[in-house]
Each structure stands twice: as C-alpha cells, then as structure tokens.
C-alpha cells in the first residue's frame, strides 16, 4: 500500500513538472502538449479513442491467445521430446534476431490490411518469452518429484498434467505478464505499417496532421490498456498459482 502511494506521488510529481515545464517554456502543443491538454483531448475524443482502442485490444488479446496456445504446445513438445528441443531451439532463438519492423510489411502483404496481420504480429512478438518461460518451468521441476511420480507408476500424460504443468505455472505467468505488455508493441507496429483502425493507425493519422495531443492521448490509452491486461494476468495468476510466493502485481 505504501509503495502504491509512493508511485502515485511520483507519477503526480512527474505530471506536475511536465505541466509546469510546458507553460514556463511556452512550448507549442504540436511539439509537446501539456498533460492537462492531453486529458482534455482524451475526454473530448473519447468515442474515437475507445473505438480504435477496442480494435487494438482485440488484436492484443487474440494475438496473446494464439501465441500462448502455440507456446504451450511447442514448450510441452520440446520438454517431452528432447530431440524436438534440439531441432527447434536454434530456430526459435534465430527468430528473435529478426526485427519485428522487418516482419510487419511482409505480414501485411501476406495477410492484408485487416486484423489478421496485427494479431499475428502481436503473437510473433510474445511467442518467444512465453515459450522459453514455460520450457524453463518444466525443466526446473524437482528431479525427486519426478522420481516420486515414476514410483507411483504415473504415465507421461499424468505426470505432465499433475506435476510438470502446475509446477511450471509460476514461470508461465511470469512470461505471460511480460508478453501482454509487449504484445501492444506488436499490434501497434502492425497498425503503423498498414491498417484502417487501431491506436497505431490513429497515431499515424494524428501525427500526419500535427495533432501531437491526439498522439499522446493514444499513447495514454495504449498504456492504460497494457496496465489493464497486466492486472488481468495478475488476477488470474493469483487465482491459479495461489501456492507461489512469486506472484506479482503492478
């Protein structure tokens, strides 16, 4: 509670300093709008921001769902079949060397201007951290527990379901927490490259018309969206991983 108050105080002080700086230096709103102006734009343009924010939120959620599904399957396969890990791990690492900005135009070319390319963009950007976290979770399981399950005569599926999966849950949620916050980056990059809706699209449009205040308003909505998704993950983490001390919240 104390740290939460402290962070609110810090954030308030930052906004006040920003406000003061904009007025004192007489900075034009199209260069750097003051926080009060951004808040006013958020209130005035709420329907527009909500419409585009909803599109981005859907892209993030679907991208996360797609990525998590693929990550769970791949991590489980790589854990159960070590040969699969040997074969796929180099490809997985190499995929992280590809800049997402380079991928975005290709995805738009392949999947069009619709939501598909943005969903895939979000999925691509979060796939790696979730897969690696989950695999790490499976591998970190206590060898003595594995021995215990073996002694009980548990098969691969039972051992996976009753031991490895719950064991890896804290790792999975740690990866997912990072993932939902960076998924927004993937979706927005996709929208920048080519789309007809979304906060990235709105930012590009506003920037072209020197509506810097609207760009900042879009960024504020995007940040709020990321924090909201983070909180949702934290909520489910506390429900699902009640035994772990590593559960975190913002």
């Amino acid at each position: 509670m104390k740290s939460r108050v402290l962070s609110l105080v810090f954030f308030g002080a930052f906004l006040l300093s920003w406000e003061f700086f904009c007025h004192a230096a007489e900075i034009q709103p199209f260069i750097l709008p003051a926080p009060s102006r951004i808040l006013r734009i958020i209130a005035e343009e709420a329907p527009l921001l909500l419409r585009h924010g909803a599109a981005t939120a859907i892209e993030i959620l679907l991208g996360t769902a797609l990525s998590v599904t693929a990550a769970v399957i791949l991590a489980a396969a790589m854990f159960i079949f070590p040969a699969a890990e040997k074969a796929l791990a180099p490809l997985l690492v190499a995929s992280q060397a590809i800049p997402v900005f380079a991928l975005a135009p290709l995805l738009v070319a392949w999947l069009g201007y619709g939501m598909g390319s943005k969903i895939l963009m979000a999925a691509v950007i979060i796939f790696f951290p979730v897969t690696v976290s989950l695999l790490q979770g499976f591998k970190s399981c206590d060898a003595d527990l594995a021995r215990l399950f073996s002694a009980m005569g548990a098969g691969t599926w039972k051992t996976f379901r009753l031991l490895y999966w719950p064991w890896a849950m804290p790792y999975f949620f740690a990866g997912l927490r990072v993932a939902v916050s960076v998924a927004a980056i993937g979706a927005v990059i996709g929208e920048w490259v080519g789309s007809m809706r979304g906060l990235g699209f709105l930012m590009m449009q506003a920037n072209a018309r020197l509506r810097t205040d609207l760009v900042f308003a879009s960024i504020a909505v995007l940040s709020a969206l990321s924090i909201f998704l983070w909180k949702i993950v934290c909520f489910f983490e506390k429900k699902c991983v009640h035994w772990s001390d590593t559960t975190n919240s913002l």
């Binding site: 206590d142 003595d144 527990l145 021995r147 215990l148 399950f149 073996s150 002694a151 009980m152 005569g153 548990a154 039972k158 051992t159 009753l162 031991l163 719950p166 849950m169 991983v241 009640h242 035994w243 772990s244």
Partner: protein, 315 residues
Amino acid sequence: MSPCRLTPSEEKSKVLIDSNWGSRYIPAERKLLSFDPWNLIRVMPAKGSAFFRKLPAASENSRLPIPGAFFMIEIKNFTKSFHNRLVIGDFSLFAREGTLTALLGPSGCGKSTFFDLLMGNISRDGGKLFLSGKEIPHLKGTAAYMSQKDLLLPWLTLRENALLPIAVKKTPSASDIREAEELFELLGLSGSGDLYPRHVSGGMAQRCTLARTILFRTPIVLLDEPFSAVDAITRQTLRSLLLLLRSRFRKTLLMITHDVEDALLLADSIIILSSAPMTAREKLAIPTPKENRQGDPSLQEKKERILAMLQEKVS
C-alpha cells in the same frame, strides 16, 4: 478408571501390540531415541479403538530378521555402465519382509543410480530382480519412494497429497478418502486435510508424507538419504516414522545413506558399498534389538570398523 490405565488383561497383551501407537507406555522404539516423537504426535486414537481393531497389529515376531523368513526382494548381479565406465558392478542383495536394509557408501558411489535402476527409470545392462520369488523388470508400482524432502506438491492440500498415489491411477473413491482420513487421525493430522503444505510445520508435512507412502499400498519403500540435510527435530521424527513403517505397516525398507550412525541405529542389516563401480563390499547383520542399540559397545566397534573401511576406500 482413567482411559489411559490398562486393565490386567490389556497389560498382559500389550507386549503383543506394536506399542508405538495408542499405548501410553513408552515403546521400545521410542526409548531408542533421545528425543521423544510423542511430543510431536499427540493426537492418537485410544488403545482398542476402531482403528486399532481394523489394522492388524504387528507382533513381536514380525521384528525380522527371522531365520528362514520369506525373501521379499532379491537383486541378482545388477550391472550398469555409462560411456563404457562401470558404475554398478555385479551388485546383489536380498531383503526379507519387514526389514530395513541400509546401503552405506561414500557420496557419488552410485547409490542413486541404483535406485533409478530399481525403479526402471534407467535400464540396467545386466542382472535380475525378484519379488517374492517372481522375476519382475523393475519396482515401479511395487515400491514407494521417500526422500529427505517431504516432496509434497504445494498446489494440493495435505489430503490430496496423501491420496496422490491413488489419484495417478484412478479417481480416489470414498473408501480411499476415508482411509486417508483414518491415517491422518492415526498420525495426528486430524482436521488438517484441507490445509496446504505451506500452512503446516515440517513435522506435519513429514507425517503427511508417511500417509502418502502408506497409501502407495506397496510392500517396499525406497528411502533415498532420508536424513540428510534435515534439522535434528525432523531427523528424530523421521527416524520414528521409519520404524513405524517397518514395524506397524510391515514395509520392507531399502535405505541408501552415508550416515553410519543412522544405519547402525535403524537397520537390520547394512551393506557397505564400494565406489567406482558400486559393489557390495561387506554385509553386516545387526542382531542387537533396536531399543538396546544406543550405547551398545559392539555397535561402537562396528561403527569404527565401517568408518575405517570407508576411509580406506577414500584414501
């Protein structure tokens, strides 16, 4: 009459009852221990209660070794190599029902590999395994496993943890759950079934582990260095629980350890192991009754001899 006082007939029959549980008399096995585990395990069903009638009490005669008793487990000529390096070489042992056999050897001599071979976690290069005279490939499903860690799953309640050996095979039935509750009552865990391991003390966690080991419903228990890295209180609790497993539940125990004192205090026979490759160097029978072991000069001699053997190997 006080419920704690025995009638003359009960007094007469108390020697036939495994006195570790239910009796207010200090049992021989507890005399062995300088620390009284009774202080940790207070809530016990009264002598003559339904639980005691249901469970067949182990007689004094079940305190093996008994000459000519049936071989429970027999291992013949186990061998295992890793990368052309012999890790276990021609290792054999037998253990009778209800005995505790300690495998005593230096760290890294291949004891854990031996357990993995027994459990079928890794394949052996040669050797045979017999259970009650019948050859079997491994002890998976036949032996329970217990280590110095309680190995309770933190996401399951104590009851669910205890029922785990059943849950991996089928959904526990009402009678399974009732059996777990009865064991909890016996072990002083009444009303703790819905607690999670993080909410209970180390001693309670160990008793839950014991309940789980019993619910394996297997005749053999493999103990992997059960007393290493535990504090003095937990060590004493574990010792008493092991003796309970052996005497009351008639389990055959194979314990790997590097602690000479534990082996001498608890085991019916000790196999001294040599390392690289692991072979049975010498087998010692400990005929002294457990209650008389503490301070027994012959055991002190044995201890020195064993230590000399182990040091000789190291040097």
